[in-house]
Amino acid sequence: MMMRCFRAFLLVAWAFAALPFLLANSGSAQGTSKNIPRKELLILENPEGTVKNAGWFNIWAINAGSQSNGLQQVALDTLWYIDPERGLDGVWDNSLAADKPQYNADFTEMTVKLRKGIFWSDGVEFTADDVVSTVTTQIKHPGMRFSAVLASNVASVEAPDAYTVVFKLKKPNSRFHANFTVRWGAVWILPKHVFDKVEDPAKFDFNKPVSLGAYVLNSYDPDGKWYIWQLRDDWQRTTLGRYGKPGPKYLAYIDPGPPDKRVIAQLNHELDVIHDIAPEGMFALAKQSKVTRAWFKGFPYGHPDPTLPAVIFNTQNELFKNPDVRWALALLIDIKAVSMAAYRGAATISAIGVPPTGAHPATYHQPMEEWLKGFEIDTGKRKIKPYDPTIGRQIAEMLRPSMGEQIPSDPAEIARAFGMGWWKVDPQAAQELLEKAGFTKRGGAWTTPDGKPFTVRVMVEGDLRPVMTRAGTMIVQLWKQAGIDARIDVAQGMLPTRRAAGDFDTFIGWSVETWGGHPDLSYFLDSWHSQFVAEPGKSQPLRNWQRWSNPALDKIIESIRMVGFDDPKSIELGKDYIKLAVKEMPTIPLMAYNVFTAMDQTYWTGFPTSENPYTNPVPNWGNSRYMLVKLKPAG
C-alpha cells in the first residue's frame, strides 16, 4: 500500500516537473509580444533597469520615472542636437530650432527661430509658447529638474511671434544654448497646452505622454520592465521626419537583467541592442554570434564615449597639492597593464585631458603630438621627456598574437582604436620627483615630508562599474610595487556622495565630458573655474571633483566665455587648457570610456558603426533617435 502511494506520488511529481515544458512556448524564451510582429519591432536595452515609478513620464520633475525608456530618445525634442559622432547631416542638427542660436554682441541675449510645421502627437502645433512655458514653468517651481539652471541664467523669455523666442540673460553667456542642446540629454520642451491645466507640475505624472518625437507610447509594464513605443501616423510632422521614415514601427525599451542575461537574450535574438556589457561578454558575443555587430568590426569592439576616465586627485589634500607628486604617480603607471586589466586591451588610451573620441583626435590629439614629444619635466636632477608616442602601437602588437587579424595594421586605424601615445613608465624619474617634493624612501617604502607612510587610497565603485574597478586595482598594484602604501577603497553606491564631499585621496572616474562631435570644451571646462571650487569639507558642484583651481586656467575659461561656440579661437584656448593640464597633471588621463554596445542584425540592419559613424549607437542617448531612420528590416 505504502509503495503504491509512493509510486503515485512520484507520478504526480513527474507531472509537476513536466508542467513547465507543457506551458512553455518552444523557441521563445523571453516571449515577445504576440500582437506585435517581431519584424516590425526593435528591442533595445534600457540601462536604467527596472523602473520603480513606471507610470511617470514627467521628465521635468526630479526622479520621476525613467528617461532612457524611450522618453528622451523618441518622444521628446528640443532646439538643437550635437552628435558625438559625425551626425546624419553634420554634427550640429537644428531640431526644433530652424537655425543656430543668434547672440547679441555681449552674449546677454539669445534669439531662436523655430521650425514651422511641427506638431505634438495630439494634433496641437508646436510654437514659441511651448518654449516660453518650458522656461517659466520650471522657474516658477524650484523643485523641477531644470529650474535652478534656468533661474540662474534667464532674466526673461519672450515670444515676439509664434516662431521666435528671445532669451534675455542675467549675465553674458556664449554657451547658454548648451542647455537646449542634446548631447546625452537637455532641457526638453514641454507641451504648454497640457501643463497649463496642471495644478502642480512637479507632481504631475504626464501619463499618457503627449509626444513631440516620431513615436508615441503604445503600452508599458506597471512593474517597469518594458516600454513599447509606436511610430506616429504623422511622423512627417516631427523633426525626425525630414530624414525619412523611421524603419521600426515599434520600439521596446526593456530591462533585460544583468550582463549574462543580456548576452543570452541577444544570442536568442530577443534583444537587438545591448546598451553595455563587460568586455568578456562582448568577446563571447563576437565569438558565438555571426549576426552581432559592435562599433568596431573586430577588436576593440566598444564605442568610445566622449568621456575620459582618469585618476582624479583630491588636490585640496596636502599630499596632492604639489604637481611633482601627481607627476611621480603618473610615471609609475604602466598604461598597457591598466588597459589589459580594465578592458582586456580593448581601450583607447589618451595622454591628454580630452577623450580620444569624436572630433578630438583630429582637433587636439594629432595636432598636439609634436608638442607632447617635446614636452619636458624637471625632476630636480635632470630634464626628461616623458611622452612615448608608440604606446598605442605597443598595445596593438601585444594583442596581435592572441587576436590575430582583428588587430588593425594601418597606423591610423591603430591610433583610432587603441589611441596614440602615453607616458613612459619611469620609476627613476618618479623617485626624483618625490624626493624633490620632500618625500623619502626608507627600506623600500615611501614616507611623506612629515615622516608618515605615503598612503594613497584609490576609490572605485566596485561591481557597479567593474571596468573602472579593475583599472583602479591595477594602479594600486603598480604604486605598491614602487613602495607606496596604496589601497583600494570600494565606495559602491556611496561614490557620488563621497565624490561631492571630497572624501577621497584619488578615485577612478571622469570629470572630463565633452560634446564629442564638436571640439568645444566648455561642456566640462566652465565648471572647472575656481569660482566654483568648494572649501575643503564642503560639497563640490560637478564636475571639478579634483577641486583644482589655477589662475591660468581661470583666464582660459574666461576667454572661452567671451568667444562664440564655433569660433576657432575656442579650439586654441582648448589647446592652452590641455598644455596646462599636462604640466599640472590634476587628473591622470587614462582612456576613453568604452561602451560595449552590441547590435544584433537578425531583424534590423543599418546600425551606426565605426565605418559608418552617423550617430552614437548607445541606446540611452537622445542622439540614438537618428539610427531609427537608417534601420532597415533584415531580409
Partner: protein
C-alpha cells in the same frame, strides 16, 4: 485557560517590544548610512547634463525642502513614528512622489506569489519525502532521494539558478529568462496573462524549490528518525496498528511541529523578498526594490520594506507561539 490568556498577553507585549526595537534599529541604521538621497538625486539629474555649478546649490536646497528632510533629528524621528502609526511610509525619494506603500504593494504581489507557492511546495514535498525516508529507511528510492537532497542542499543558490538559466534559457531556450510576464500583455486575469506569469515563474520557482526541498527533506528525515525510536511508536507497531496510520498519526504528527515553526518563519520572511532570485531572474519583487533603494539612499523605501519585513517575521513567529500550546500537549504555559 487563564494561564493561556496571561501567556498571550505576555507574548503580545513581547511582540510589540520586538517590533518597536526592530523598527528603531532600522531607522538608526538607514539614517547612519553616508548615502545622501539629495546628492544621489542631484548626481542622477546632472550626470550628463550641463547644469551650472551655482544652480546645483539652489537645486540642493529645493530638494531638501521637497523631500521633507528639514528639521532636527528629533523632529524627523517623531514625524517618522507618526507616519508609521498611520501605516504611511511617505513618498519614495528615489521615485518621488510615488508613495512607498504603492511601490511595496506592487512588488509584494509578485514576491508573495512566487515565494509563498515555492516555500509551501518545497516545504510540503521536503517534509513528505523526508518523513517517508525517515520511516522507510530501507527503501532504495527514498535512499536515492536522500542522496539527491544531500547533493542539492549545499549548492549555493545562485549557482543552481544560473545553471537553470543557462540550460533552459540558452542551451534549450524553452523558458523565459527575465521578468514576471511577457511584453505587452495587460495585467488582467486573461488566459494569456496567467499563462505568461506561470511560464515566467517556473525557473525562479524551480530554483527555490530544488534547494528548499533538500533542506526540508533532511530536517524532516532527521526528526522522523528520532520519533520512530520513541516507545509509543514501537508500541503502536507491536500492537499491529497499520503502518500508514503509524506514519501519519504517530510519527509525522509528532515530527511536524518544528517543521511548522520553520515554515512560519519562512513565510514571514517572504516580506524580505528573494534578492538573489529576483536579481538573477529579473523578477519584479521586494528584494530588488530593497537593493535599489539602498543604493539610491532612499530612506523611506528602505524603512518601508524593512518595517513590513519585521512585521512579517514577527507575526509569523507570534502565530506559531500562540498556536503551539493549543496544538502540542507537550508545551505547557504557566
Amino acid at each position: 485557560m487563564s494561564g493561556y490568556v496571561a501567556y498571550v498577553g505576555r507574548r503580545l507585549a513581547q511582540f510589540v517590544l520586538v517590533v518597536f526595537i526592530g523598527i528603531n534599529l532600522a531607522y538608526v541604521i538607514t539614517h547612519a548610512t553616508p548615502i545622501d538621497p539629495v546628492e544621489q538625486s542631484i548626481s542622477a539629474v546632472t550626470y550628463y547634463g550641463n547644469t551650472a555649478p551655482d544652480a546645483i546649490e539652489q537645486m540642493r536646497t529645493s530638494l531638501r525642502e521637497l523631500y521633507g528632510l528639514g528639521g532636527s533629528p528629533v523632529e524627523q524621528y517623531l514625524a517618522f513614528w507618526k507616519r508609521i502609526l498611520r501605516a504611511d511610509f511617505g513618498p519614495s525619494l528615489s521615485a518621488f512622489p510615488t508613495p512607498v506603500s504603492t511601490l511595496i504593494g506592487r512588488a509584494l504581489t509578485w514576491t508573495a506569489g512566487l515565494l509563498a507557492v515555492s516555500t509551501i511546495v518545497a516545504w510540503g514535498l521536503g517534509s513528505l519525502l523526508g518523513g517517508l525516508a525517515g520511516y522507510y529507511q530501507n527503501s532504495r528510492g527514498l535512499k536515492l532521494m536522500g542522496v539527491i537532497a544531500m547533493g542539492l542542499h549545499p549548492i549555493p543558490y545562485y549557482i543552481l539558478a544560473l545553471v537553470l538559466l543557462i540550460v533552459f534559457g540558452f542551451l534549450w531556450p524553452v523558458l523565459p529568462i527575465s521578468g514576471g510576464s511577457a511584453m505587452n500583455l495587460p495585467q488582467t486575469l486573461t488566459f494569456d496573462f496567467v499563462t505568461s506569469v506561470l511560464q515566467h515563474a517556473i525557473l525562479p520557482a524551480l530554483s527555490l524549490i530544488l534547494i528548499g526541498v533538500g533542506s526540508w527533506f533532511l530536517g524532516m528525515r532527521a526528526l522522523v528518525s528520532n520519533v520512530v525510536t520513541e516507545d509509543y511508536v514501537v508500541y503502536a507497531e507491536l500492537a499491529g496498528v497499520r503502518p500508514w496510520r503509524v506514519l501519519s498519526m504517530y510519527v509525522m504528527r509528532n515530527a511536524l511541529p518544528p517543521q511548522l515553526t520553520g515554515l512560519a518563519i519562512s513565510l514571514g520572511g517572504i516580506f524580505n523578498g528573494a534578492v538573489i532570485t529576483e536579481k538573477v531572474f529579473g523578477y519584479p519583487g521586494v528584494g530588488s526594490l530593497l537593493v535599489d533603494a539602498v543604493y539610491a539612499g532612499d530612506y523611506g523605501l528602505v524603512l518601508g520594506v524593512t518595517t513590513v519585513s519585521i512585521l512579517g517575521v514577527s507575526v509569523g513567529v507570534l502565530v506559531i507561539d500562540l498556536l503551539y500550546p493549543l496544538l502540542d500537549p507537550r508545551v505547557k504555559v504557566h
